[in-house]
């Protein structure tokens, strides 16, 4: 039986001022797998990804039409709570961006936003920090100094922390915008491993520029071009037998 999609995009268009960055895009993202978003620079991958937690709206000039249904609710409805949307839809950025506060505070940052002060328990938060850091295998290297400033960690550790700080919020969906592009080869390998370990419990949508990475790490792939989705299919199929000529050209490295 086909599982219900956790993110369902229907005829979604987005404008930055007068420039239309997404042209009536439709796609369904399945839970429990990693969907890769690929395409040449400027095709709208980041724009699409940033629409799923509505963080694009911080630029005042963004207009949208269409629907994005996440877990049964159109998130573009006016009555949607941005805070609870972002609790369910976590995001990992291209450059690791831990907050310039302690490791501990980074992990509980989201939880503190979502629970009123009197309902927070120290012991519960300690527990949360430990399990989140264990899940990204960062616990052993930082457990002795959780008060250390998170921005002092190595880039790889920072990116792991950025993944770990989503976990206490128990998101359903994790968005990743080229999560490895700031890392070296070892870092890439370990973050990819981590993402693969996490995938069964989440819906992961990952933008990548790196064909090899898309091939290694994603289960399904979406190829975008000039604000449109050209092809969406299982990754294997896309790489071995692309249906669209443009997809084939891109995969062979004939676009930028």
């Amino acid at each position: 039986m086909e599982q219900a999609p956790s993110v369902d995009v229907r005829d979604f268009s987005l404008w930055y001022g007068n420039f239309q960055a997404l042209l009536s895009v439709s796609a369904a993202f399945k839970p429990g797998i990693i969907t890769g978003l690929i395409g040449p620079s400027g095709c709208g991958k980041t724009t699409l990804l940033r629409s799923f937690n509505r963080i694009n709206e911080r630029y005042g000039n963004v207009k949208t039409t269409g629907n994005i249904t996440i877990l049964g609710k159109n998130i573009l409805d006016t009555d949607v709570s941005i805070a609870s949307l972002r609790k369910r839809v976590g995001m990992v950025f291209q450059r690791p961006n831990p907050l310039p506060i302690s490791i501990y505070e980074n992990i509980v940052f989201g939880v503190k936003s979502h629970t009123p002060g009197r309902e927070r328990k120290r012991s519960a938060m300690d527990q949360m920090v430990e399990s989140a850091l264990r899940e990204v295998s960062l616990w052993d290297s930082v457990k002795d100094d959780l008060q250390r400033k998170a921005t002092e960690l190595t880039l790889e550790q920072q990116q792991k922390l950025c993944i770990a700080r989503l976990l206490p919020l128990k998101p359903d969906i994790i968005l990743m915008d080229e999560p490895c592009s700031a890392l070296d080869a070892n870092g890439i390998e370990r973050i990819e491993e981590l993402i693969t370990e996490l995938k069964s419990r989440f819906t992961i949508i990952m933008v990548t520029h790196n064909m090899a990475q898309a091939r290694r790490a994603s289960d399904e792939c979406i190829f975008m071009l000039m604000g449109e989705i050209v092809e969406h299919c299982p990754t294997k199929e896309m790489f071995f037998n692309p249906k669209n000529e443009k997809t084939a050209m891109y995969i062979e490295g004939r676009y930028g």
Binding site: F93, L99, I101
Partner: protein
């Protein structure tokens, strides 16, 4: 065709000679220029030292005659009769207390308002509003001190009398309000700079975790920009302590320890300014005013040094 450019119409050989000459000049002036630049660099230190020396020398004649601590001494008395040649008394306690009291009231007003305005400008205002507000802040900063003095005397004073029943309109509160308003632009522009310097990725990180704008300010921007914000407030304090003209007009210039916010007070700066005109060059009176100046210089330098040490300390900690 005549031309002032030797390179355009001189034969190649001559051109080479000309180039060499220029290079030679460049070489020969390199050293003096370097020295000049170094002198300019160090001049700030020399200037500070020279000013200290100048003020100290000015104060020198009267320094042995002043009793510093004790019952009716410099630091313990509010009696200031420096003009009296036969039986002078030098008590600056009232000025010191007045100075700090006025500055404290000013900061109680300027720090919250200044930081709030900075947060609004950098985080909440749209881009057009932002431009206009920034222009407004700059204009506010450019208002001459004496104009603030007029405002204190003709607007704030009568208002205070009307609403608080104060006997005099020019008093500690008036001075504090005026100084507060005067310090706001400095605090706003420095605080806004340091908020703007916080990388946008921090804001996005926090927002993506579900924080609202206000939480971003409180939990991300304030900690991230803490050093700059504290420094902006300290420089505001420095400004408030060193300000003269407006304070002279606004405080009522009375050398006493205030009992309430509505008592007239004076400050070190106002006392100097109000007596300087009568002081005869070379007299003890003049030297005593220099003594007050020396004290003021020490206080403001101490505040600035503290601010600097604070910033350095934080930078080091951040880098470690």
């Amino acid at each position: 065709m005549p031309s002032s450019h030797p390179s355009s119409n001189t034969p190649p050989a001559a051109r080479k000679g000309w180039r060499a000459a220029v290079a030679g000049i460049a070489d020969s002036i390199e050293k003096p220029v370097e020295v000049l630049i170094r002198v300019c660099g160090w001049s700030s230190i020399f200037l500070v030292a020279a000013i200290f020396l100048f003020v100290l020398l000015g104060a020198m004649p009267v320094l042995p005659k002043i009793e510093w601590f004790g019952e009716h001494a410099f630091f313990t008395s509010t009696e200031w009769h420096a003009k009296d040649d036969h039986n002078p008394s030098y008590g600056v306690l009232g000025m010191i207390v007045g100075n700090f009291a006025v500055a404290a009231v000013a900061m109680l007003i300027a720090i919250p308002l200044g930081l709030a305005a900075a947060v609004y400008i950098s985080e909440f205002a749209g881009s057009t509003t932002k431009e206009w507000l920034k222009i407004g802040i700059e204009v506010l900063a450019a208002i001459p001190s004496i104009v603030w003095g007029f405002i204190a005397v003709t607007i704030i004073g009568p208002m205070l009398q009307k609403y608080t029943g104060a006997q005099w309109g020019t008093n500690l509160l008036n001075g504090g309000i005026v100084l507060g308003l005067m310090s706001i632009p400095l605090i706003v522009s420095l605080a806004e700079d340091s908020l703007r310097a916080v990388p946008d990725s921090y804001r996005e990180a926090a927002m993506a975790l579900g924080a609202n704008k206000w939480e971003v300010v409180r939990r991300v921007l304030f900690p991230a920009a803490k050093t700059g914000l504290v420094a902006s407030c300290m420089l505001g304090v420095g400004r408030a302590i060193g300000e003269t003209m407006a304070v002279l007009l606004a405080t009522g210039n009375k050398n006493q320890i205030p009992d309430s916010l509505l008592d007239p007070v004076t400050t070190l700066t106002a006392a100097i300014a109000s007596e300087m005109g009568d002081a005869v060059t070379g007299s003890d009176h003049m030297a005593s005013l220099f003594t007050i100046g020396l004290l003021l210089l020490i206080i403001t330098c101490a505040i600035n040094l503290t601010a600097n040490v604070f910033i350095r300390g934080h930078k080091k900690k951040g880098a470690a």
